[in-house]
Amino acid sequence: MSNEDIRVLTAQLAADPSSLVFLPLGEALRRRGQLAAAEKVAIAGLTRYPDLADAHDLLARVLGDAGDLERAFDEWDIALRLDGGHAGAHKGIGFLYYVAGDLPKALSHLESALTADPGAEGVAAAVARVREALATPATAMTAPQPHRPAAVASLPPDSGDIGAAEASAAEVRAAVFEGLEGAQDGLLLLDAEGLRLGGGLSAPDGAPVGDSVAAHLAGVFRDAERAARLLSLGSWKSVAAETADANLFLCAPTAESLLLLVRDNSVPIGRLALQAEHASDAARRWLEGVA
C-alpha cells in the first residue's frame, strides 16, 4: 500500500472516526513496520468496537510483530471468544503454538484457519508443514508446552516470518533433496495447488521466497499444461526461463507435483535439465515414501 493510499485511509478515518477503515489502515501501518502508529489505530478502533473480532485480530498482529506474544495471544483468544471461526485468530494462535513446539495444537488451529478461509495466505503451506513435522518421529514426540505458548520466543507470528519455527521446518523440507546441490536453496518441490512440499528458495538478498514462488508456479503449471494441450503439442515436459541473473527450470516429477530449479545464469539450461532429472528422481522417491 502506497503512502498515498495510507493518506487516503487516514483522511477517511479522520472524517468519520466510527468508520471501519481503521482495520485496513492499521494493517497497512503494521506491514510498513510502523508498529506504534498501527497499535494506536487498533486501540482507537477497539474502543469503538470492543466486540469486533477483526479489531482484536489486528491488535494481536501488531503486538506479535512487536514481540509482545503474551498480549498477542490474549487478543487472539478474545477474538476467538467473539467469533469461534475467526481465521486470523486461529492462524495467529496456530503459529504461536507452532513456535512453542506444540504441533498438535498448532495443527488444530491452523486447520481451523484453513477451513474458515481456504485462501488465507501461507496457511495451507503451514498446515502441510506441521503435518509433515508431526509425521517425523523426532518432532512428533516434542513435548507439548503449557496452554499458553506465548513466552517461548520473541518472534513475530506472522505467516511469512516465523523465524525459528521456520528453521526447524526447513530441516524437514531439505530432506527431500538430501545430498543434492541446492537441497535447501534453489530446489523447490510443490504440489499442484502451489503448496511447498520440500526444498527452499531464497531471493538474491537472502529473503526466503519459497512459499510465494510456489504459489505463483501453480499458475504456471496450469497455463503450461493448457497451452500444450490446446496447441496440440502433447503433454508438457518442462518450462525453462533465463533471466538477467538466473536460469530457472520447471518440470513435473509426478502428475501432482512440480519441481523448480534455480541457478545463477552461469549454469546453462541444458545442465539444469540434467540436474532436474536427478532432483525429480529424488522427489519421486520421497513422495512414494510419504504416500
Binding site: 528458495l201 531471493a203 538474491p204 538478498d205 529473503a207 521466497v209 510465494s212 514462488v213 504459489a215 505463483h216 508456479l217 499458475g219 504456471v220 497455463d223 503450461a224 493448457r226 497451452a227 500444450a228 490446446l230 496447441l231 496440440s232 503439442l233 502433447g234 503433454s235 508438457w236 515436459k237 518442462s238 518450462v239 525453462a240 526461463a241 533465463e242 533471466t243 538477467a244 541473473d245 538466473a246 530457472l248 534455480v262 539450461i269
Partner: protein
C-alpha cells in the same frame, strides 16, 4: 514496418523445425504480426504464450529476479519459445520437438533487437 517484421519473423521460420513465428502483445495476448503459421491457430498461440510468460514473470518477480529474457515450454509434440522485445511485445516461435533450441533462441533475439 509490418512488412519488415514479417520478413524478420520469416528468418525464424527458416530454422529447421520451426512451424511458425509471430509477434505478440504481451499484455493483451494478441497477434501483432505472424509468419508461416500454417496449421496453427495464431490467436491461440498468442494468448497462451502471453499467459505462460506473464505467470512466469510473476514467479520470477516473487523470487526477487528480473523478468524472463527467454522462455521455452517443451512438450512431447513440440514447443513454444518466447523472447520479450520492446515493452509489451514478445517474439514467439512454435517448434517441432527436434529443433535446434539455441539457434531458434538466437533468431528470436535478433528479431527482438530489431523490432522498433
Amino acid at each position: 514496418m509490418n512488412t519488415d517484421i514479417v520478413a524478420a519473423l520469416e528468418s525464424v521460420t527458416r530454422v529447421r523445425g520451426v512451424r511458425g513465428a509471430m509477434l505478440v502483445s504481451a499484455e493483451e495476448g494478441l497477434v501483432v504480426a505472424e509468419a508461416s503459421m500454417e496449421g496453427l491457430d495464431g490467436a491461440a498461440v498468442a494468448a497462451l504464450t502471453a499467459g505462460v510468460v506473464a505467470r512466469l514473470s510473476r514467479a520470477t518477480e516473487a523470487a526477487g529476479r528480473t523478468p524472463p529474457a527467454f522462455v521455452h515450454l517443451r512438450a512431447d509434440g513440440g514447443g513454444l519459445m518466447a523472447v520479450p522485445a520492446l515493452t509489451d511485445l514478445l517474439v514467439v516461435a512454435v517448434t517441432d520437438p527436434e529443433v535446434n533450441v539455441g539457434l531458434v533462441r538466437l533468431e528470436l533475439r535478433r528479431v527482438a533487437e530489431n523490432v522498433t
